[in-house]
């Protein structure tokens, strides 16, 4: 069965997944994280580190260009606040547009994650396997 590059047809009744419309995984993760509450860059890094028991990024600092990109696209908004230690830090929170984008992306990502894990556990020649 030939599969076109941008859509993956799977047996189960799901709408097609438009890979082209997906954000980068990092962006998605940032939006997800920030949706749980305002956080500064370091806090996001720590949270990702804790929750996933893994180093997601080769360079931790690449978080920051992503944050600023998202801020430019107005999906998150940055504001400067004082931490408990009375240090000046930039906290990010989700904007309304960001919430909408997150919701739209969330479903697609979930689908993709499921499909990926299915494909990963499938044996060659046995596409019909559940």
């Amino acid at each position: 069965m030939e599969a076109s590059p941008s859509t993956l047809y799977v047996r189960t009744p799901m709408p097609p997944i438009d890979l082209a419309s997906l954000q980068s995984p990092l962006d998605y993760l940032i939006l997800r994280t920030v949706s749980w509450g305002a956080m500064h860059g370091f806090g996001i890094a720590r949270l990702l580190e804790d929750r996933t028991d893994a180093a997601l990024m080769v360079e931790e600092g690449t978080l920051y260009p992503a944050l600023h990109r998202l801020e430019r696209r107005k999906l998150i908004r940055g504001e400067w606040r004082l931490t408990e230690n009375r240090r000046r830090a930039k906290y990010y929170r989700l904007t309304a547009a960001g919430e909408k984008a997150l919701k739209a992306q969330a479903r697609t990502w979930d689908q993709l994650v499921r499909v990926l894990s299915q494909v990963a556990t499938a044996t060659p020649g046995g596409a019909e396997k559940p």
């Binding site: 500064h40 860059g41 370091f42 890094a45 080769v58 360079e59 931790e60 600092g61 690449t62 920051y64 260009p65 944050l67 600023h68 990109r69 801020e71 430019r72 400067w80 240090r87 000046r88 830090a89 930039k90």
Partner: protein, 894 residues
């Protein structure tokens, strides 16, 4: 890790600094990670190093973040700015609405000032700035001859040939002359203004037809007509089939060959109320020995590539000089004949430039005075708003923010005033068109176009800045001074100084305007008392011209006019009738060489000359020109009698001194008939060209005897003049009826009373005088309002002191006197400055003044008294009102 330069932190004063913020953010991360590492047991240096290593390529990451961040802050900043401006506008509107009296007064004053300036600029733009409707108008020049006694003279046909052949600087040279022609169309005859022009005229002007074609060169084209666009529209309704239509002009059928584009006129016609409606070809035939001594053509030329006006002028003079050396009979040495070139734009508008510039200056002064008044108003308002400004400042409004909001408020006021000003300007331009003297060239083209609107915007902004200047400075100091307590602060002292300075300025500017207006008024009054030498009331003038086809010979023309004059004098209500070739004040006179009996003209000398007029019997009587010696022209002087001539006093004095010239003989030059003439009488001098020019020396020749030079014929176009018992215009109908009965194909021209003719002649000085007087009056009123306001304000602030003084027994009269004296101090300063400036500036007006010097002491004394009186009166009212208030009431109000 690189350190960000410390100085960058200070950039934050100007707003968010993306670079510094990113630096802080990234540094925070690394420091937090380092701390965490230390908590986990790493030694500090290694903690830091590990954090940095984990972080990654700092400079790359930093650069990326800064790029993104700058984008964001830029957008945010713009949005914020726009939001600020929108908010300022909202605040401004509310603020203005809360003080309607101030808003309306200030807007009205500014609107008047801006409107008047815009109106004048509209006229200026059309007359002086807009390019003439010619192709490459900067390459078009006008050619004038000049000689002893004639600054600007016309060109003769022979000279046209010589200039065309000899002057290499001209790529085209055209000549033209104005005339009136009889047009018969659809059965009705009418007199139409026309111009005869050589085909090269249109080439020189660079004019292409809107439809059809212009005259063809080569002289073969004798029967084409080119119509002006305006005449085509008004007379033929813009008919599409006009090309090729036949028209009967002066008894000859001609064909319409083309239409000119709208607005195109010959250079000499731009000031005409009645410009040529049609253009007929003028053919100057080299072969037929064209006339040299008769200068009646206007000339226009186009500069050939590589020639400038200066080099062309030199070339023209060279050709003229060679010409005079070849034809020494026609150009005696003493005549000092030469020619010159003038760029066409200067030629068309040059005369009105002084008038228009003076108007522009006057109206600018009015605007400045209005701005001074409004500035005062704004200052008062600023003082009243001290509290509001204090609150805003305390709530965190920066100086700049508050200033910006005030500026926007003023700007809105000025823009509203500007819009209202445009409306006022439109009305003003209409008023100018109605009142116009008639010879401001191109006035008809005046419209409010984009250039005018740009100008309006510019002076609205300028007015804003001017008006806001003083109060804003006050506002700055006020904001600082608010920290002081009490009602008296340095700020109010400053405001007082500013106010008094404003009054001084207003008074000075008003003096300048009043001086100009006063001088013009005086000059105009002098003009009105000029004795023209003839009757101006109860005189009707009507041009009559005989079509050459029906009246080909002298006998027919002479018969017609003698019968017309005698029949016209018999119309009931007509006391006397006569006809003249050139009506005074409405036309110019030309001159003609004469040769006195027994005084032949020596080689190289200038021949004696006199200006000439042709008159019928009865004209002196009808015009009311007194005969001082001998007799006038009568029916005796016909073709069978000896040639008779009547001289004006200055003509007699010029060649015969105080001796009685009656009986003396001289010969008319240029073969004009009847040749030898005998002086039969002397009449009083008359003003001819303008009321201010000296009366020319004139010889009056009888219509029944005169024939034009070089074997020409009797005059076919004369102006009939009737002295009526009652109002002149009702006599037009019986006259028309009379002429119709005599010959229905002879049209009458435009009938005017002599009063109308005089009125047209003085129209320009009257226009300039009335406009300037209106501006001066406006300035006086504005200055008076300003003084009234200042005194009122001062008195209100000092109400307490006044009350105390009155309670202590001061005389109200003395108090009033003191207030007025104090108020007059800035006025006196203004009068001094204004008078000094006016004395310098009025010198530019000397060309417009008649019989009065630009520094005329009487006028200056009068306006100083006038303005001082007005100032005292303006101060009196509030001063008396203050003194009239009972002291206790005043004290209680404090």
């Amino acid at each position: 890790m690189e350190e960000m330069p410390r100085w960058r932190r200070y950039l934050r004063l100007w707003g968010p600094d993306p670079g510094a913020d990113v630096e802080d953010e990234l540094t925070f991360h690394i420091e937090e990670r380092a701390r965490l590492n230390v908590e986990r047991g790493l030694p500090p240096e290694r903690a830091r190093a590990e954090a940095e290593k984990r972080f990654g390529d700092m400079s790359r990451i930093r650069t990326e973040c800064i790029m993104e961040s700058e984008h964001t802050t830029r957008r945010a900043r713009i949005g914020e700015r726009l939001g600020d401006v929108a908010r300022d506008i909202r605040i401004g509107v509310r603020s203005l609405a809360r003080a309607p009296v101030y808003t309306v007064t200030a807007a009205a004053a500014l609107a008047l000032g801006i409107g008047a300036n815009t109106a004048v600029f509209t006229v200026l733009s059309a007359v002086l700035l807009r390019p003439l409707p010619y192709g490459g108008a900067d390459r078009v020049v006008v050619v004038h001859n000049t000689w002893e006694g004639s600054d600007e003279a016309r060109v003769s046909p022979a000279e046209y040939i010589d200039y065309t052949d000899g002057v290499r600087a001209f790529s085209a040279l055209g000549v033209y002359a104005m005339s009136n022609v009889n047009l018969v169309h659809d059965g009705s005859a009418e007199r139409v203004s026309a111009a005869f022009a050589t085909p090269s005229t249109f080439a020189a002007l660079g004019v292409a037809p809107e439809a059809g074609r212009l005259f063809t060169d080569g002289g073969g084209d004798t029967e084409s007509i080119v119509l002006s666009h305006e005449y085509w529209q008004s007379r033929f309704g813009g008919a599409g089939d006009i090309i090729g239509r036949g028209l009967l002009v002066n008894g000859v059928t001609r064909t319409v060959s083309g239409i000119l584009p709208p607005g195109v006129r010959l250079p000499a016609n731009f000031g005409d109320v009645n410009p040529p409606a049609m253009f007929l070809p003028l053919a100057i035939d080299r072969a037929s020995d064209p006339v040299r001594g008769s200068h009646f053509l206007l000339a226009v030329a186009r500069l050939a590539p590589g020639w400038s006006a200066e080099t062309a002028d030199a070339e023209l003079k060279r050709v003229a000089r060679e010409m005079t050396m070849v034809h020494t009979d026609d150009y005696p040495e003493a005549m000092r004949f030469t020619a010159f070139v003038r760029p066409v734009h200067a030629d068309v508008v040059g005369n009105t430039r002084p008038l228009l510039l003076i108007l522009a200056a006057a109206v600018a002064l009015v605007l400045l005075i209005a701005c001074a008044n409004v500035s005062s108003l704004v200052l008062t308002r600023a003082e009243d708003r001290r509290r509001e400004l204090a609150v805003r400042s305390a709530l965190g409004g920066s100086r700049w923010r508050i200033t910006r909001q005030l500026l926007i408020e003023h700007l809105m006021l000025a823009l509203v005033a500007g819009a209202a000003g445009v409306v006022i300007a439109a009305l003003g331009v209409r008023a100018v068109e109605l009142l116009q003297p008639g010879d401001i060239p191109r006035l008809a083209d005046a419209r409010i176009d984009s250039r005018v609107l740009m100008f309006t915007l510019a002076i609205s902004l300028f007015a804003t800045l001017l008006v806001a200047l003083a109060p804003l400075r006050f506002g700055m100091t006020a904001l600082g001074a608010l920290r002081e307590s009490g009602t008296r602060s340095t700020a109010t002292h400053a405001s007082n100084r500013v106010r008094r300075a404003l009054i001084t300025a207003e008074v000075a500017l008003s003096i300048i305007l009043l001086a100009g207006a006063g001088l013009l008024l005086r000059s105009f009054a002098n003009l009105m008392t000029v004795e023209p030498g003839y009757r101006t009331e109860q005189v009707l003038t009507v041009p009559v011209s005989l079509p050459a086809s029906s009246y080909p010979d002298d006998a027919a023309r002479r018969l017609f006019f003698s019968q017309l004059v005698s029949d016209a004098s018999r119309i009931p209500g007509v006391l006397a009738a006569g006809a003249v070739s050139n009506l005074p004040l409405a036309t110019t006179v030309g001159d003609l060489d004469i040769e006195l009996e027994g005084q032949p003209v020596a080689e190289g000398d200038v021949s004696p000359r006199l200006d000439w007029q042709i008159v019928t019997p009865g004209w002196f009587d009808a015009m009311g020109v007194d005969i001082v010696r001998g007799r006038g022209i009568t029916t005796i002087d016909d073709e069978r009698a000896t040639g008779a001539v009547v001289l004006s006093q200055s003509a007699a004095r010029q060649y015969w001194g105080d001796a009685d010239p009656v009986g003396q003989r001289f010969r008319l030059g240029a073969n004009a008939g009847p040749g030898w003439v005998t002086v039969v009488g002397v009449v009083r001098d008359v003003r001819h060209g303008t009321l201010t020019d000296a009366p020319p020396p004139i010889m009056y020749l009888p219509h029944a005897q005169f024939t034009f030079w070089h074997g020409g014929s009797a005059a076919s176009a004369m102006t009939l003049v009737l002295h009526t018992a009652g109002a002149p215009l009702p006599m037009l109908d019986p006259l028309r009826e009379l002429v119709r009965r005599m010959d229905a194909s002879v049209p009458l021209g435009n009938g005017q009373t002599m009063e109308q003719v005089v009125s047209t002649a003085i129209a320009e000085p009257r226009f300039a005088t009335s406009v300037l007087a209106a501006f001066a009056l406006l300035a006086l009123v504005l200055a008076g309002i300003g003084i009234y306001g200042l005194v009122g304000y001062t008195v209100a602030r000092q109400a307490r002191e006044i009350a105390i003084r009155m309670a202590l027994g001061a005389e109200p009269a003395a108090l009033v006197r003191q207030i007025i004296v104090h108020a007059m101090k800035p006025v006196i300063a203004g009068v001094a400055i204004g008078t000094a400036s006016a004395l310098v500036l009025t010198r530019t007006m000397h060309s417009m003044l008649y019989g009065v010097a630009p520094h005329d002491p009487e006028t200056f004394a009068l306006i100083i008294v006038l303005l001082s009186t007005a100032a005292v009166v303006a101060s009196l009212v509030p001063a008396r009102r203050a003194a009239a208030v009972a002291p206790l009431t005043a004290l209680r109000q404090e």
